[in-house]
Amino acid sequence: MTAMDTQTLVERFYTLIAPELPNEWDVEEAVESLVDDPMLESILAQVPVIWPVSNSLCYNYLGLVQKALVCIRESDLPSWVNETLDHYEVGGLRAAQQFMLDVERNFVCRMQGRGGVRLAEVAGWLLPYVQGLAGGRLDLAAAETAFTDTGTLYLPAELTHFDREKDNTTLYKLLASYQWSFIHQNTFFPEFPGQNSGDQHNEGLEHFLNSFSEPQLAARLYHTLETLRIGFFLQKELPGLMRSTRRMRKALFPATAHDGEEASVLSVLDQQCCLLETRPTAGMELWYTEILSRLTAGDAGPETSVTLCRTLYDRVLEESKKEYVEAPVLFQGELCLQSVYAARQRQRQLIEEDFIDGLSTYLLTLPEAKGFIEEQQEKEPGEGRVQGIKPS
């Protein structure tokens, strides 16, 4: 190919974007690698689609399209460009560039119905879904693992655990439903003897867990027991969800972790969190049969898990010295009590500030207040000033 051919291509480019006239050296740089490309016509056909949206994006496209065509078919090029423009619309140039950079992961997997799902992609419907569950405001945010501070459900930014996109989407729903249930079922605020009933400002659970020699192990045990209780609750509350995720939940339990009679307490509990056997089965260990009856009883609550945690802790501690404690199953997420308490503290502060604002506004409307404020203003600045009350 000669310099003339590049020039022809540049002129062709100008006709595609007419009447605009960008710098010739920019255009030449963008198209020169394409002169020999057998799919040149298909590549150029997308230029009038992208150029009016963003000139920079169009240059990026010309620079990346040949690499993309190694992974995708020529006939899929318009779809790839459309998805790129969708990303541009939502997240701007940076998001579109990110999308174009990894064609295999961002596009090919999706075209083949496999691959990960990002929280940003499902948040549009997942947020109203969780607000429907919660019966009011509840936010969603991305984090490394799933947890909640009771005001926001934090979920992984991307889920790639399953090959199929549909399964990863359902996994988001499962994670969100579990985190909502922890709030709904009062997991973070069990009542302890001597504590005022319904007091949600206590940090009793943290004190309880800190009373063990290994607080983290106790927290893992308590959280797992609560996950099991929540699982039984969800089976009643959202039976369709639990039915449709049975296979998925089973797949999330590591097959090597449970080895018949030798299985540790945490391993058995993790497995039951996935399987949710509600009836005792043959071979089920006696201690677990007892737990099953306690956690499925009508009056089961977080206090049940507190009691069971006390009962099982020593055994779990012994076992933890002998073998590695597996990470909890994915849909369980993490127990982040500090986030919960911090969120409650913020909420309390907001209520207090609202109350103070409301009270000061009311006080200022009283006839006595006007005289008082005038009196204060007549005094030297700073002398006898009442803090927090400003004349409106």
Partner: protein, 270 residues
């Protein structure tokens, strides 16, 4: 006169309509009726306002004349107008006049949708005068003791421009309606929709979830009426996973994300 009587007979409610009282609304309405006071029913769509009026009409043994108000509804549509037949002009009573003359119950559904001039005509009818002026005939019709005026509106989605004026509101005894408590609503769905208690409870739970979506842009959640419709589709052999989208989801919104969210709620519940 014979024609009017036949016309009114069509509006009589012979069989007792199913109505589950959840408060003191029947007692209040009865007291208002005895004292000749008009009723204002407020509440979301499909929560039982119209059914309540049907029940009252049956209970008071009065014909119920319902007018569904719309933005083209004028005073003439309510009071009446001169018509031409065989070259001669004759007067035809509107539904309001018909109800006043016959001592029926006149129910103006979604009153704020009607043109503003209509509210003027109901003012003398809604206070202690209980009179309907028919300007075109120079006639003043006094309402008999049996007559009752009732209006309804939905505060949830009325705009400020379409709100009722205080001078209108303050003529009425107001009854605020809302979706019944879950146990009552399940009973209604069970009875009216012909579904078993367990399914009725799940449907009510579903409706409750959709009613929490105001912050997400859904003006109103699933009404009791929609739940009953699901029940009726189920009775005809339609699968629950088909009946819910058809009778609820698609009736609530066209927004793709809200549709997806409501579908996911249904698939989680059923």
């Amino acid at each position: 006169m014979e024609k009017d009587r036949l016309q009114l007979d069509e509006h009589r409610i012979v069989d007792e309509p199913y109505y589950l009282s959840t408060g003191s609304e029947i007692e209040v309405a009865e007291a208002a009726y005895r004292e000749g006071l008009p009723l204002l029913l407020k509440g979301p769509t499909g929560c039982g306002k119209t059914r309540f009026m049907q029940y009252l009409a049956w209970r008071f043994e009065r014909p119920l004349i319902t007018v569904s108000c719309h933005d083209d509804l004028s005073t003439s549509d309510l009071v009446g107008r001169y018509l031409i037949r065989a070259g001669e002009a004759f007067w035809a009573d509107g539904p309001l006049t018909l109800a006043v003359r016959a001592g029926a119950i006149c129910y103006l559904d979604e009153i704020v949708e009607a043109r503003k001039d209509t509210t003027v005509v109901i003012h003398p009818l809604a206070d202690d005068r209980r009179e309907l002026p028919i300007e075109k005939r120079g006639e003043l019709v006094s309402a008999p003791a049996e007559f009752m005026l009732a209006v309804s509106y939905n505060p949830g989605y009325q705009s400020v421009l379409k709100d009722l004026k205080p001078s209108t509101r303050q003529r009425f005894v107001s009854l605020s309606f809302d979706y019944p408590a879950p146990e009552f609503e399940a009973e209604i769905v069970c009875r009216e929709g012909g579904v078993d208690t367990e399914l009725a409870r799940t449907l009510v739970r579903f409706a409750g979830m959709t009613r929490s979506l105001k912050d997400s842009g859904l003006a109103e959640g699933a009404s009791t009426r929609l739940l009953i419709q699901v029940g009726k589709l189920l009775n005809q052999g339609i699968d629950v996973n088909t009946a819910c989208p058809a009778a609820i989801t698609e009736s609530l919104t066209d927004d793709p994300e809200l549709l997806a969210a409501i579908d996911e709620m249904a698939s989680s519940l059923f």
